[in-house]
Amino acid sequence: MTTTVVPAIPKAPTDERVARSSPLMRLLIRPEFGALAGAVVVWLLFAWQAGGVWLSWQGTATYVDVSAKYGLTALAIALLMIGGEFDLSSGVMTGTTGMFAGLFAVNSGMHVVLALVLSLVLAVAIGVINGVMVVKSRLPSFIVTLGTFFALQGFNLWLTQRVTGLTNVTGIDAASGYELGRRLFASTMFHIGRAEFSISLLWFVAMAVLGSWVLMRTKVGNWIFAVGGNRDAARMVGVPASATKVGLFVAVAVCGWVHGMVVLFETSRSNVIEGVGQEFYFIIAAVLGGCLLTGGFGSVVGAAFGCLILGMTRQGIPLAGWDPNLNFLFLGAILLAAAFANEAIRRWASTAGRPSQRKIEEAAHDAAVEQDVIAATGDGGGDE
């Protein structure tokens, strides 16, 4: 801790906002730190419980593959949550896009490339609809996307049954251009011994890099943080708040489309209930990765580690020979542990080296007084 040099200006009141913090503290305060630590803990736990299988390439490939698939949608959900919104229809998008691509290619006889493009267009349209409804109505996105979630689920079932008479769309493996789709979304990227690493890992890594770059290094990234923190304040300083939010919903839909295509070409069929219920896994991954439900804080890399925790948990339990019924219990415990740990670290890191508790209380008191004044003078919000 010899590196911490506090400029010693005698007697002058130091401004805590420009005080230097130690490198360790800067590491701890990073949103992805908790997820990284959690991933290491879970990995060690299963290395101990499952032994050799866990350390083998084949064991590794199974959990990496599962994690990567969660990540295809979860990374976009992390961005959306940083932007202050939620998308419960993200799980069902896997099945919706798969169904559209399947129906176009099989039942309409289109070339797979055309089916891919058309289903992508529809995915973008669903994203725009979600985004515009949330932005225009100013309703919580939880409610709006809960509606689209149910609507899409019912629509998938209705359309699939109407066209095929079954609850599956099968036969895409016979459609023209299938090989290309398979190479793009479902081929094996490389082998290590008998272990296969599928191309969804490449998509996952590419999305993590791209998402992180956008968030940390571009203007759009600043906009995302800004609209998640305080939308009206963001708008006042010139951030295109509505466009940013709609864009985030579209990003989620497009990533859901990639997820849908991976599942479609891996399984050569589309099932009406594909992805239903997975939206909660995506949210868990984002929260494990340090995203706050209130928005304005979080990290894409952290969410990627969150996906790894999810994947390791799901594959670790059968590999360790535990009772599979414990799956949800364990996931819930990990989620709570991560949330508590994240919160404790954040609170510690944001107060360490800062002014005394008394000063903070004074500030809080001032803020409360100000709040009362606003409340007393009548409506605070209600713009547009």
């Binding site: 199974t62 493996d173 599942v263 219920g277 599979p324 990990i334 542990a337 510690w348």
Partner: protein
């Protein structure tokens, strides 16, 4: 200051450690005794009584043969998750793999990997159309289309013309085949069959769906449930409408409730596929395969159904359900 951090980390560690000791307790390491190590992966949801009888068969056989069995199933009807559970089972390199195949397309790559790894496979319950393609020794179960056709014929014989088929597990191709088989026999006799989807985890919702469907069309004279989780709400819906006994009711698979309804005369029949055998037999077959290189079935499936439970034999079967094996 750092005490808070330490508290957070300790709390996280304690939670993790707590769940570990609670769960890891009894489970032995894979190469404990001389018994065969067999992995069982099914699509059976823990809340479905059908699968608890199956699991009972697995456990009884494992105890009898001294084998080391791991059982896993996805938490919901999720075939992508089930495929990754098969991948996990293959990674442990067991002496045998028992697997249900409700959706061949989705599971095919994982099953091919198991076959390539030289793991003997037996498919159970669903998968009668595809077991040879994945190199399984045999399939243990019933042919769903044949069973559906037989159930449909029973309803036709009882006078049904307008039938609804209650599907409680949307996306399960085996259940689709049951409805399709029943539709064949019913349509051959000049009747009609309509499929109604319900959620197996929402009994109250299923009941109201069935009851409103029946109210909307009073020419419906028969209900075919595809399992006890569909049959129970169907019974309740008929009771609610006061048409018990008038509207014919048949189901697939047994539960104490179903058998009691048959004894009471509120239900016509149940198609029994004897899933206890589907759990018990593959453990025995795979152990014999490992120790004595035996293969059962001669390339043909081993059929455990369809058998029918109706008023003639329901009393005896009821006694056996008490022990959890029917």
């Amino acid at each position: 200051m750092s005490r808070k951090l330490r508290f957070g980390v300790l709390a996280a560690a304690a939670l993790l450690a707590g769940s570990t000791t609670a769960t890891a307790g009894g489970q032995p390491s894979p190469n404990a005794a001389e018994g065969a190590t067999i992995a069982v992966v099914t699509h059976g949801q823990a809340s479905d009584p059908f699968w608890s009888v199956f699991k009972r068969g697995v456990d009884d056989a494992a105890a009898a043969m001294g084998s080391n069995v791991t059982y896993s199933a996805p938490a919901t009807f999720d075939m992508v998750e089930m495929a990754s559970l098969i991948d996990a089972a293959v990674a442990t390199n067991p002496d045998g793999l028992v697997v249900s195949v409700p959706d061949f397309d989705a599971l095919q790559p994982s099953l091919a990997a198991a076959n390539e790894a030289g793991i003997p496979i037996i498919t159970v319950n669903s998968g009668s159309d595809n077991y040879q393609e994945i190199g399984a020794i045999t399939h243990i179960g019933q042919d769903e289309t044949i069973a559906g056709a037989a159930a449909g014929q029973r309803l036709v014989d009882a006078g049904a013309t307008n039938v609804i088929c209650i599907n409680q597990e949307v996306g399960n191709a085996g259940l689709d085949a049951r409805c399709a088989g029943a539709a064949e026999s019913i349509e051959a006799a000049g009747g009609t069959l309509e499929v109604v989807q319900v959620d197996l985890n929402d009994a109250a919702g299923a009941q109201s769906t069935i009851s409103s469907t029946l109210q909307a069309d009073d020419t419906i004279d028969a209900v075919l449930a595809l399992g006890p989780t569909g049959a129970a709400p169907a019974l309740a819906a008929l009771d609610e409408l006061g048409t018990t006994g008038d509207t014919l009711l048949g189901t697939f698979d047994l539960s104490p409730e179903v058998i009691q309804a048959i004894i009471d005369g509120t239900m016509l029949f149940a198609v029994d596929q004897q899933q206890y055998l589907q759990g018990y037999l593959p453990i025995v077959f795979l152990t014999l395969n490992r120790d004595n290189l035996n293969t059962v079935g001669g390339g043909q499936p081993v059929l455990t159904g369809p058998g029918f439970v109706d008023a003639s034999n329901a009393e005896q079967v009821l006694e056996l359900t008490g022990s959890g094996s029917r």
